[in-house]
Amino acid sequence: MNAIARILYDLVARILRTVDLPLLGALLALMGIGLAVLYSAGGETPRLVIAQGARFAVGLAAMWGLSRIPPTRLRHWSPLVYGVSLLPLLLVLLIGQGKHGNHWINLGVFYFQPSEVIKLSLPMMLAWFLQREPLPPRFHIVVASGVLIAVPFGLILLQPDFGTGMLVASSGVFALFLAGLSWWWFAAAGAGVAAVAPVAWIWMLRPYQKDRILTFLNPESDPLGTGWNIIQSKIAIGAGGMTGKGWGQGSQSHLDYLPEHTTDFIFAVLSEEFGWLGVATVLALYLFVIGRCLWIAAEARDGYSRLLAGALGLAFFVYVIVNGGMISGMLPVVGIPMPLLSYGGTSAVSLLAGLGLVMAIGAHRPRHAT
């Protein structure tokens, strides 16, 4: 009996050897909350919950699998992975499908979203590229890194998918930041954006994007048109109060006032049903996840591991702040899901896979500095 328990324990320990348990705990908590809110938002039928649970299972499997790969091997493959992952981005422009553009490739079994892969491969590529030279990166390295970021970013913008493009680009920028990129670069970039913004407004942004920005500035100006989503979302959030209306009691989502309430706006459902306490709890969990990634990164012994783990962790932050800000009217509407809460997409899988890479870095830390 004791022996069996011991064998079982050993087996589990071996399986979980590469898994960071605090991180996994926080993720499981988030996933549990996500499924609970989804059950309510999805009309209290298990259909969406089962589909989302299946995605989580795939994601967790990917996380586990990737966590077993030594970072040295990851580093070795990084340029190849990056190069290969650009191909579907090109392909999706030709044969892709989607509501507002070409976002997915139909693989028969499921819809493949090429931009999800680049979310992992770009930080890998940059981490590899930056750590080859002494840090902080020198000028020509920064410029070359900019090209590495700009190529996938440009391809994603062509789909067009500004939200994902921004996520991808920001993960690259985070890698540069963590590599010690001079503050002057950020100052220059800020000035550049300010200069380009009017030009972009006139020639680059699509009408729906302009609408979103105008709506953000004054949602009440068009309460039945583009402002509707934000107004209804704010009503849902505000009506939640401190403790919320209770699970399954959110009238805004249950009566369909809240649009997209299983996907982009699911955090509003959580806000309505669980109140500010629920919001604070979830934000605290996200903060823990990000902090844990940064901790693992800081503990890593080589530059590649540090940059990759840090960039992936901070990418998580972009999801949360953009989605959480957008649905509450703090930021313009950008189609970015709430990680592990929003239904659908392959983002859950890619997020978990990314965290698998972080876990790999944590698990394969050499005992002694080299």
């Binding site: 580093r75 590899w128 750590q131 080859r132 030279e133 002494p134 840090l135 902080p136 985070f174 930041f177 963590l178 590599a179 010690g180 209804q232 704010k234 009503i235 849902a236 959030i237 505000g238 009506a239 939640g240 109060g241 401190m242 009238s251 805004q252 009566l255 369909d256 006032y257 806000s271 109140g275 500010w276 919001v279 604070a280 934000l283 996200y286 903060l287 990000i290 902090g291 940064l294 990164a297 800081a298 012994r301 530059g303 540090r306 940059l307 840090g310 901070l314 932050f317 949360v320 702040i321 959480g324 800000g325 509450s328 703090m330 500095a369």
Partner: protein, 636 residues
């Protein structure tokens, strides 16, 4: 191993550099998420009340609950007006899109008359586009089914159940009950927003007079709706108060008997219980089918009613009237007694032609000289001479005063809207109408109920009832009692104190005897009593509706048909203990005893003996041309 390094890396410095940056990043992330949490705190806690209100406003919509209109019963509890379930088509213009196309499409599924579309277009103007507007009432079962199959093709169109007013006895009671009609802009302005959920309102008759009571009170349900406005569940309600039911004093059988007694004649009649003022039967003929008006009458039907020279829509009892002729003599006789000018036994010698002293012109009796005539004989034999002289002796001022006391020249107060006052001849009235002086001769003819007189059948019936009941001028009324709710008790409607027309019972007795004399040998109505097992009292009359215009005499035969001579009869029975008083006016009916009297006799028989006259279908058929649609849409 990576490619060969071109420069030596400082591993420690890089690690420290990373840690610094990681700490900065973590602090920035913490700050940003704290900012987000603060932002949510502002929305969720500080502004919670505002958003909670808006959330409720989103989902909870008040929906009016239309009360059932009060039912109307006859004195024996038979239904005279009720409600039947029906369906109507409502359109919300904002949701319907192209209305012209919609109407065209819908007309392929349901029968839309030009009147429906005209009405719809009119209603649409000046109303909010999000409010449903009725396109068609009383949608048939087959039409409803056809619509239901194709309903997805008509956004913003809904089949709404409602209660449709029905008058099962149609034209028999049209002038009593009246009808409800579609609410128009003027009605809406009067009723206010609260009752905008109602579709119908009383337009004429009791339906109009008792509108407030019959209508009830619109209630509200708080309905939780989803974003498309579909009702999901009821959260609370202010219940609708159903309209009060009315119980009339009308006896349906007697009403039918009265209609039948008129046979083909036009005219009006009122039967009153003299003890209470309860109207037992009241007809104005020709009549019409009130059901035609409930859902909007068609142009052809309306034109037919309007073009009919006998004016079926005209309620002769309350709106009409004419000279009372000899039927007013009993009351003039009473005035003679009460004024002290005559005693019952005082007799005048009738020469058959009365002369105002010093004037050549003579005022004749139809039957020539009657010799010595006392009060009883003057009534029984209808001796004009007696009344020419009495009126002349009394003078028009006093005459006017007494006639007003008997209820002429003022509305009787019946529970119907728009009652006419009638006219009692007086210099004031003449001066107002013609700016001419009063001639003594006009006083003389006023004494036989001619000249400037206008009295309604209702006023005559009431005056007769006052003679019958011992002098009380009761208020004639149709609705006897009401109940507020199905299981509530019937409560009698309050009636005003009846003023007395005389203090002297002997005077009244003399007049009563005169009226009984009418029905005895030598009386003008003796032919009417054959075979009656009860005693009657009465007075016949014949009146020219217009005898003179200004000073000139008018040839009755050149008058429009409806203005020609009227045959009149007033009376009550049983004479010693009256339970019914009646006034009958038959248009162009010739002599009172020959047409109006027999009608009264048949009504008496029906009331006292229960013998119904042979029904003649001619009066029961609606006057309007065209076949009326079925009054009731099949329920469900």
């Amino acid at each position: 191993m990576g490619p060969r390094r071109r420069q030596l890396k400082n591993a420690y410095a890089e690690a420290m550099q990373f840690r610094r940056r990681a700490v900065i990043a973590f602090l920035a992330v913490t700050l940003a998420l704290a900012g987000l949490a603060t932002w949510y705190f502002r929305l969720q806690v500080l502004q919670h009340a505002e958003y909670a209100t808006r959330s409720d406003a989103n989902r909870i919509k008040p929906r009016p609950v239309v009360p059932g209109r009060g039912l109307i019963f006859d004195r024996k509890g038979r239904v005279l007006a009720d409600n039947v379930p029906a369906y109507r088509l409502d359109v919300v213009p904002d949701e319907a899109g192209d209305l012209k196309k919609l109407v065209a499409d819908l007309s392929r599924v349901v029968a839309l008359t030009p009147e429906d579309i005209e009405r719809f277009d009119k209603d649409r103007r000046g109303r909010h586009g999000f409010r449903p507007i009725t396109l068609k009432l009383r949608v048939g079962e087959e039409e409803a089914a056809r619509f239901a199959v194709d309903r997805w093709r008509y956004p913003g169109v809904e089949l709404v159940p409602y209660l449709n007013r029905r008058y099962p006895h149609g034209d028999v009671l049209a002038h009593i009950i009246g009808y409800v009609g579609r609410i128009d802009e003027a009605d809406l302005a009067k009723m206010g927003e609260v009752d905008a959920a109602l579709t119908h309102t009383g337009k004429t008759g009791l339906e109009r007079y008792y509108e407030e009571a019959l209508r009830g009170k619109v209630g509200y349900e708080k309905i939780e709706t989803n974003v498309e406005g579909r009702a999901l569940r009821r959260l609370g309600q202010v219940p609708a108060v159903p309209g009060a039911d009315l119980r009339l004093s009308i006896d349906l059988d007697l009403q039918r008997a009265m209609v039948a007694a008129f046979e083909d004649h036009d005219g009006s009649a009122v039967a009153i219980d003299p003890r209470t003022g309860e109207i037992l039967a009241m007809v104005s003929l020709p009549s019409y089918d009130p059901n035609l008006f409930v859902n909007g009458i068609s142009h052809t039907d309306y034109k037919a009613l309007m073009d009919n020279p006998s004016r079926p829509l005209f309620n002769r009892n309350v709106l009409g009237g004419g000279p009372p002729g000899s039927t007013v003599k009993p009351l003039i006789a009473l005035a003679g007694l009460d004024s002290g000018l005559r005693r019952p036994e005082d007799a005048v010698f009738s020469t058959g032609e009365f002369h105002i002293p010093g004037q050549r012109r003579g005022y004749r009796d139809a039957h020539g000289g009657a010799g010595w005539t006392d009060l009883r004989k003057s009534i029984a034999a209808s001796v004009n001479f007696y009344y020419y002289k009495l009126a002349y002796d009394m003078g028009i001022r006093r005459f006017d005063e007494y006639m007003r006391k008997y209820g002429f020249g003022a509305p009787t107060g019946i529970d119907l809207a728009g009652e006419t006052s009638g006219v009692v001849p007086s210099p004031d009235y003449k001066a107002k109408r013609t700016r001419e002086n009063w001639y003594p001769g006009e006083t003389v003819i006023a004494g036989i109920g001619q000249g400037y007189w206008v009295a309604t059948t209702l006023q005559l019936a009431r005056g007769t009832a006052a003679i019958a009941n011992g002098g009380r001028l009761v208020r004639p009324h149709l609705a006897a009692s009401r109940r507020d709710g199905y299981d509530a008790p019937w409560t009698p409607l309050p009636q005003p104190e009846a003023p007395h027309i005389t203090d002297n019972a002997d005077h009244l007795r003399a007049v009563q005897e005169g009226m009984m004399g009418t029905m005895q040998p030598g009386g003008t109505g003796f032919s009417l009593v054959r075979g009656a097992p009860y005693l009657m009292a009465g007075k016949t009359g014949t009146a020219q509706k217009i005898s003179r215009r200004g000073g000139a005499s008018v040839d009755p035969h050149q008058l429009p048909f409806h203005l020609r001579h009227q045959a009149l009869f007033v009376g009550y029975a049983p004479a010693e203990n009256p339970t019914i008083a009646i006034a009958v006016a038959v248009e162009h009916g010739g002599f009172g005893a020959s047409t109006a009297g027999p009608i009264a006799r048949k009504v008496f028989d029906a009331w006292l003996l229960g013998t119904m006259p042979e029904p003649k279908p001619t009066n029961a058929v609606p006057v309007a041309a065209g076949t009326p649609p079925p009054a009731v849409a099949p329920a469900r």
